[in-house]
């Protein structure tokens, strides 16, 4: 297990009351909503950022907002840290607990409460998976646009916490652009509602503040999300290039020409090989880099947009252009892309970076990334949302070799700093979590961080919500 990133030391007053806390939670919730046997806690010690692991004090799995509120009221009263958890798919350690924390799992609040096409809205519980919304409304010609690669499993609550993105966010925006309202339990158990089935609300845009707050301002239990009508058609097209630089430059030129396809996804050679091995999607294996460009609309719209893109790609010496011929082929192309991270597990352990850079710097950052990786003697696979400059270098390493793991982490930090220095940011969609927490000073000035922390304190004075995350441990307003 890696140790470079520290967690807050557990609160002695909480640890010493462990038995009493479990007894109290037992009284508060139905028996099957509490997990506290030490062996049963082990599976909750981490999420998809698996290099770091901490056992929680207990796990609660409430079924209602009232139960969530009861747990919050109790934990607030006794100063017990609470770590919210959706499906535990965070790549930045957002759901990793700590020894004195109660994990508040929302997996059982997984119902779609209301579908309102007239207002293009669905009201869902926080534990609903991202994909199940689109599956439910798909039969009626609608979908929910943000599509993280983990959309099969990840929950809306987690998406809101991390302001998650996805391949199709280039055109439709990320979670915050598709979220209309939330029901949220505040740290003291008070239940509030923000936003609603309208585009703007009176007063401060607290909804915007909550989206991306990584579970530190409250526990979202319900959300109103925007539904969008499905396009008439959609067509992913594969563009193969000799080099990553050529592909990167092509992306910048497409966007610069004012063309906004639904998605422009990038894969370098190692990523293509990994994804092809899993999905057998027919990705070209003889190219150095691949762009998956999806266009949508009527046949004429798609043809026009595609013609413009092909022309730009030619200028960058595109080697192969392959239009997808069937719905099944399209599904496979996306299945391969969306499984890229997991499929990497076939060849190595990995950590996934999430830096975002200005498009004009894409080729530069790709080159520099290769240099860093080479210097550390590691391997990398690049697969990412190129259209919005959201890079995901997957740094490959051997988790059973502590030195290799440490090298991978160091290389990752350098890559993220590189992204910031290039005018970008630490995270495009995965959130800060613990992974990027100690790099926040590289991104923000002390004054900027202090302002963010003041907001956090306004919601949670004692900092019990997901306490080890987002802000560096030093320089916090609370000890």
């Amino acid at each position: 297990m890696s140790e470079a990133i520290r967690f807050l030391p557990p609160r002695p007053a909480v640890l010493s009351r462990r038995a009493a806390i479990i007894a109290d939670l037992t009284d508060l919730l139905p028996a099957d909503c509490l997990v506290h046997e030490p062996r049963e806690l082990v599976p909750f010690e981490t999420d998809a950022f698996i290099s770091y692991r901490r056992l929680p004090l207990a796990v609660v799995l409430p079924r209602t907002t009232a139960q969530v509120a009861a747990v919050m009221r109790y934990c607030h009263r006794y100063g017990i840290p609470v770590v919210p958890r959706g499906a535990g798919t965070s790549l930045s350690g957002g759901a990793i607990p700590q020894e004195d924390a109660v994990v508040l799992g929302l997996s059982r609040m997984s119902r779609i409460l209301e579908v309102d096409y007239a207002n293009r809205t669905a009201i869902v519980q926080a534990g609903v998976t991202n994909l199940s919304i689109s599956e439910t409304v798909g039969v009626d010609g609608f979908f929910y646009a943000p599509d993280p690669s983990s959309q099969l499993a990840c929950t809306i609550g987690g998406n809101i916490g991390m302001n998650s993105g996805g391949a199709h966010c280039l055109k439709y925006g990320v979670t915050t652009n598709n979220l209309l309202g939330v029901k949220m339990v505040l740290v003291d158990g008070t239940v509030i509602e923000l936003g609603g089935k309208h585009l703007d609300a009176a007063g401060y845009d607290l909804l915007g503040l909550v989206c991306g707050s990584e579970g530190q301002l409250g526990i979202v239990t319900e959300a109103a999300v925007r539904l969008i009508a499905k396009p008439e058609g959609a067509r992913p097209v594969l563009f193969g290039f000799e080099t990553s630089e050529a592909a990167g430059a092509c992306v910048a030129d497409i966007i610069g020409a004012g063309i906004i396809p639904v998605a422009i996804e990038f894969m370098d050679k190692p990523a293509i090989e990994i994804c092809e091995a899993f999905a057998q999607a027919g990705y070209p294996l003889d190219v150095g880099a691949l762009l998956i460009v999806e266009v949508e609309g009527s046949e004429a719209e798609m043809d026009t947009m595609l013609a413009g893109i092909v022309e730009i790609a030619r200028r960058h010496d595109v080697k192969t252009v392959r239009e997808c011929q069937s719905a099944m082929e399209a599904a496979l192309i996306w299945k391969g892309r969306k499984s890229a991270f997991g499929a990497t597990g076939r060849i190595a352990d990995y950590i996934c970076m999430d830096g975002t850079v200005p498009l004009g710097k894409l080729s530069y950052v790709l080159n520099k990334t290769s240099e860093i990786i080479e210097r550390f003697g590691l391997r990398v696979a690049n697969v990412f949302h190129a259209g919005d400059g959201n890079m995901h270098p997957l740094i490959l390493f051997n988790a059973n070799d502590p030195e290799d793991a440490a090298r991978a982490e160091e290389a990752g930090n350098e890559i993220l700093k590189l992204c910031v220095d290039a005018g970008g940011c630490l995270t495009g969609e995965h959130g800060v979590g613990i992974e990027k927490r100690d790099l926040m000073r590289h991104q923000y000035s002390d004054a900027e961080l202090a302002q963010q922390m003041a907001v956090r304190s306004a919601f949670d004075e004692d900092w019990i919500l997901n306490p080890s995350k987002v802000f560096p441990l030093e320089g916090r307003p609370v000890a």
Partner: protein, 434 residues
């Protein structure tokens, strides 16, 4: 993911294999989404990722199994939906097999649980005992509601509920020897009679024999063959499972040596998954490893074999068939489109129920041992099937047939029964006469 086993632990080939499997998992969590028990219970401990973690913790620490781990592993259906979903290629099937063996070897179950498992293992794999038990079950049926009120006795109640109300008719399919081709001979295969299926529904293999005979295939029902071992295998009773496997390997090897076999035909996909795994199960037995691998390579689901025979396209029938893909078919053997294509070519209109990846809750003895979760999954499955408004349900596994039949009035048949009818056989009795 990171593992920590000592070299001494890794000297055990089972542990070494599990370690390799665990190393592939990157804890991405995709598997939770398609796991029937996670979808039903909403607790990660009842998901593949949670179980993988529990198993890892137990094996790394060399600990005997305990009640907590057993509870969550027992709830696993072994449907293998997670294996289909997993992008990393984690071989959950063999990991959970290992965990079950470890549980069986290191954990003492409560008395009643032990007795019920012993009973199942002593009866189900043996057709004569099973047949006798079904007669007793008929007499005992009125007791079912009472038994189900006592938590430890629920499995007995569930067992009585599942027992068919009428005894199956006599059948030709279990007659040992060669059932000769009735057309120009094109091939020679063996067919698995197995254990529970000929007792519960001998019509399935009757239809298979008729169809294959008309297609010019000699079908051998060899002397000495029996249960494939899956039932006890899934209870972690490894030695018993391997004995069943060795016996069948011997029988089929004799047939292969005698006249050659183009295939070993299996009409229950649950058995198919296990027989296709014989090569792996017996890999550490030098006397059997090679023979078992040969048998596994020849094992074919009946639909796989029929697909090689180029059945002619038939006129469309006005019959809507909801195709239920058994987990052992779609996840265990990765046979997905093929049975549906055969039905379409034979003129049926095939409908795909929603959530087709989710288990119906049958899962071997699961509907007996975990009757509450099983009942929830059955209700969900039946709801999805009925939403397609089918005239008939088709599937490829006797377990699913028995399970789903207790939840719906719509007739449910084995795929091969519909195919036999379409290609000249008698109309299945379960179909309404119209």
């Amino acid at each position: 993911m990171q593992t920590s086993f000592t070299p001494e632990q890794l000297a055990d080939p089972h542990v070494a294999e599990s370690e390799k499997i665990l190393r592939r998992c990157v804890h991405c969590g995709f598997c939770t989404a398609t796991c029937p028990t996670y979808v039903t219970l909403g607790n990660e401990l009842d998901s593949p990722r949670g179980r993988i973690y529990l198993i890892k913790d137990m094996l790394e620490n060399g600990r005997p199994a305990d009640q907590e781990v057993v509870t969550h592993i027992d709830r696993c259906l072994s449907c293998l939906a997670c294996v289909t979903t997993c992008p990393s290629g984690v071989d959950y099937m063999h990991l959970v097999d290992h965990a079950r063996i470890h549980i069986e070897n290191t954990y003492r179950r409560p008395l009643i649980d032990r007795l019920i498992r012993n009973l199942l293992a002593a009866v189900l794999p043996y057709p004569q005992r099973f047949r006798a038990a079904l007669i007793l079950a008929k007499l005992g049926r009125p007791l079912a509601p009472m038994l189900k009120r006592v938590s430890a006795l629920k499995p007995l109640g569930a067992m009585l509920d599942l027992a068919p109300k009428a005894a199956a008719k006599a059948s030709d399919a279990t007659r040992r020897g060669t059932h000769p081709a009735q057309a120009e001979k094109r091939g020679r295969v063996a067919i698995l009679s197995g254990c529970a299926q000929p007792v519960l529904d001998p019509g399935i293999n009757d239809a298979t024999l008729r169809l294959l005979a008309r297609l010019g295939i000699d079908v051998v029902v060899p002397e000495g063959e029996g249960c494939c071992g899956a039932l006890v295998h899934h209870m972690g009773r490894e030695n018993e499972a391997l004995d069943f496997a060795r016996r069948n390997v011997d029988v089929w090897t004799r047939e292969i040596d005698r006249g050659g076999l183009d295939a070993i035909i299996i009409t229950a996909s649950g058995c198919g998954t296990t027989i296709k795994d014989y090569g792996h199960m017996l890999r550490l037995d030098p006397a059997y490893a090679e023979k078992a691998a040969r048998v596994s390579a020849l094992a074919k689901d009946i639909t796989e074999y029929l697909a090689t025979l180029d059945l002619p396209k038939l006129e469309p029938k006005r019959l809507n068939v909801a195709y239920h893909s058994a987990c052992s078919m779609q996840h265990g053997q990765k046979i997905t489109a093929l049975p549906k294509n055969l039905l379409k070519v034979a003129g049926f209109t095939v409908r795909d129920p929603a959530e087709g990846h989710l288990c119906c809750g049958s899962a071997g003895t699961y509907n007996i041992l975990q009757s509450e979760i099983s009942a929830q999954l059955k209700a969900r499955k039946v709801r999805n099937i009925e939403a397609t408004k089918p005239d008939v349900i088709a599937t490829g596994n006797i377990g699913c047939i028995t399970q789903i039949a207790t939840g719906t009035e719509i007739p449910i048949l084995h795929t091969v029964e519909l195919l036999d009818w379409a290609y000249g056989g008698p109309k299945p009795e379960k179909l309404p006469t119209k």
